[in-house]
Symmetry: C2
Subunit: 141 residues, 2 copies
DNA sequence: CTAAGTGCAAAATGTTTGCATACTT
DNA sequence: AAGTATGCAAACATTTTGCACTTAG
């Protein structure tokens, strides 16, 4: 049902290559635009935005928003985790200091399963961001 | 530490009143602008945005983003839940059909406690949105 | 050859800001 | 009177779109 690319183009390859070289890194559309500009790759920003969405629906990169006030982030999904749904890094964002904490734990998976069974809802942990207060901030107030 | 309003103004009162009359409703800044325009209340949109932020830091309304592509939502926090942290409505957003599901369950609270104890992170469930696939969408693909 | 993808610049969206004026205290 | 808040319009940042042109198949 998902609309997919039919042709493979140089631009999309370059884009994907950039993401592959930065596994685990959050990249905004702007980061990508700038990087490619510096590299001398002449790719229009419209193309970049279009291909980012395309790569997202191809399932090779993930899109999420870490913060209301900053642009969307994209991140490469390595083939391993891609296949097995092995997403073991969840994002927690402190509303106070803005810090982003990466958490990996079983309890989140348990909640995911609970939602699946009880509510028929499959949580996408790549996209979900937990907002709240980090330890430093909650103790210092 | 939070910057607070020093004067109380008619505009802010009107704004707050509107939220109080719509408990449990998600209102975007645009909704508020339109509503007040229709009501004949002449409040500039800049003022609305400024007061929304102000009410958020006063802790009387909550701000969150239900979707990357749509504007921020605001919602009144009733004094009860405000005091006792009794936030019993979590938002799940289906990435496929866009539906928003309101869930209220103990398991989420359990996760919240787990995060608190193990990771020192206090999840703000008012602000956090769980992204994923709803039952209808995951079964129909 | 034909459909799909590109690039540019312009539009759209949601939100913020500068500044003169009006209101609170 | 002194300091905030308001309102307008203009600025902003990010993302999307219209359209003529290029490219992949």
């Amino acid at each position: 049902m998902t609309t997919r690319a039919k042709y493979s183009t140089k631009q999309k390859e370059i884009l994907l290559e950039f993401f592959k070289q930065n596994p685990g890194v959050h990249l905004t559309a702007g980061d990508v635009v700038n990087h490619l500009k510096n590299e001398g790759a002449n790719i229009g920003q419209a193309t970049i935005y279009r291909n980012l969405e395309s790569l997202v629906s191809d399932g090779v990169i993930a899109k999420f928003k870490i913060d209301d006030d900053s642009p969307a982030c994209f991140e490469y999904i390595s083939p391993d985790e891609h296949m097995g749904d092995e997403e073991d890094c969840y994002h927690c964002k402190c509303s106070s200091c803005g810090k982003i904490i990466h958490v990996s734990c079983e309890d989140v998976k348990a909640l995911q399963e609970h939602f699946m069974e009880e509510h028929g809802f499959k949580i996408d942990l790549k996209r979900t961001v937990f907002y709240g207060l980090c330890g430093d901030c909650s103790s210092s107030k």
